[in-house]
Amino acid sequence: MKNALTGVERALFLTLAFAAFAAAAAGLGARAVDRLAVHYESQRNAYAIVRVIAPEGPAGIAAAEIALARAPNVASAAPMTAGRAAQLLGEWGGGEVRAEDIPPMRLIEIELTRTGPSVDVSGDVMAALAQGGVTAEVIEAPDGVAGGGAVTRVRTAALWGAVAFALVMAIIVSLAARGLAARRRELVTVMCDLGATRGQAAGRIADEAAVLGLYAGLVGGLLAGVVGLVVMLLVIPGASAETLANMILPIDLAPIIAAPLGAAVAAGAGARGAAAYFHAKAARLG
């Protein structure tokens, strides 16, 4: 690239890098939303409350605990204390709730293991309790409240939002790359006069723009990755380089990898279109 990254090319490079950065950052943001939504749904699905109906009193709770320890799909079980209930009511209601005001409860919080969608977890738990001589009901997180059922919508919105934003950035990259073609108009004219076909002339300019887009996308994508890591270190309590390395999945890096490729394709396409237009203007007067 003779005279690359001087003057207009440098401004173009920065524009492409910024657009790639924005697209990659949006993609990383969408991945973060997706991961959070999945995590939230997983936690929500793994939580249930057992209400012991009979036997009454501490004996019922103790019998239920023993039965739950043997029940399938139950990872842990802990009777709801007055203090825990006061804390939860305080969080949900917003006001202060005193533990002394909470009446004796017959509730047990249980954490479920992950199961397939066809497994009737509540039925299995109730059967295990019945075998232990306990009559109880299992209350799972309802679908209609507290974000139930919203996860799919959130994930879809995050994905398509990021895709739409990336497309807008691609259009910006494509339009900016037309500027490169305009700057190379004399080359297109000369090539046309010397007998280059439209494809040859446009391809020459598109290749140059694609290389510029590739490098700019690489810079933008890597910068978005670095910013993403810094944000994670600041936002996630107790996060370290080691925990982040374990936390990040290969799919989370897709926006960083897509940024240079997308920028190269968009820049190449924009420059090719403009160069083809300039060739057509040079090839046929009148």
């Binding site: 004399e186 004219t189 000369v190 090539m191 006069d193 007998g195 280059a196 439209r198 090839a283 007067l285």
Partner: protein, 245 residues
């Protein structure tokens, strides 16, 4: 080249590089060339003279395939211009050396690189063409400016560089639009002699200029264009020359 007519190709093989028959051409609503009949052969030099705005440049654009004929038939190197595809036109263009009235160059490239460009477009490697281009640079007399960026060259040097570029790929047809503009009479005559030399290697040369005295520089067939109508001044019947290989 599936649309090529065997009869048209035969004309080209007989050395008839250009045959315009009753051609009209122009820009937008304006018709500049009217009923033009013209022929250029391999090994001949044609000088088209006429006043300003008579249609000389338009004729050159027509011959270099940049302007389609509105009516009539334009046959250039065996290709019917009106019917040819973009690929066919590009193929023919690669066999035309064109010296524009205001040549366009890649300004930040050296004169050498600009002159070598037609050869690069033909896929030749620098080590293969370097010597040829140096010879060409010497031939047009810009050896000292060859390695300078085009933007540093004077008007006369740019014109010579344009001539060198037009000759680089050993074209069959050389078109020069007012190649002596802005030059001293002596330099102008030297340039025309230089272009005329190309007839010796079998190329056809068409020069458009206002300067009728250029006809004295070399054996030249003279044409006159006025208000878009072209007439032949000399009616000598040159012997047919084989098309350049």
């Amino acid at each position: 080249m599936s649309r090529l007519n065997p009869t048209d190709l035969e004309l080209f093989e007989r050395g008839i590089l250009v045959r315009l028959s009753n051609v009209d051409a122009g820009y937008g609503a304006a018709t500049v060339l009217m009923g033009v009949d013209f022929e250029a052969r391999a090994g001949e030099v044609a000088l088209v003279t006429g006043p300003a705005a008579a249609g000389k440049t338009t004729l050159t654009h027509l011959l270099r395939l940049a302007l389609p004929p509105r009516s009539g038939r334009a046959l250039i190197m065996g290709v019917d211009v009106a019917r040819a595809s973009g690929r066919e036109l590009a193929f023919v263009k690669r066999r035309i050396g064109y010296v524009a009235e205001t040549p366009v160059f890649i300004e930040h490239w050296s004169a050498f690189d600009n002159i070598a460009m037609p050869l690069r477009m033909l896929g030749r490697k620098p080590r293969d063409y370097a010597e040829d281009v140096r010879e060409l640079v010497d031939f047009v007399g810009i050896s000292e400016a060859a390695d300078l960026p085009m933007e540093k060259l004077s008007g006369a040097e740019r014109r010579r560089a344009a001539i060198a570029r037009a000759l680089a790929a050993k074209p069959h047809l050389i078109l020069a639009d007012d190649p002596t503009a802005g030059m001293s009479p002596a330099d102008g005559r030297r340039v025309v002699r230089l272009l005329s030399e190309m007839r010796r290697v079998g190329a056809g040369v068409v020069i458009a200029s206002q300067d009728e005295s250029l006809a004295d520089c070399a054996p030249i067939l003279r044409w006159r264009i006025e208000r878009g109508r072209l007439t032949q001044v000399d009616h000598a019947a040159p012997e047919e020359v084989e098309a350049p290989k």
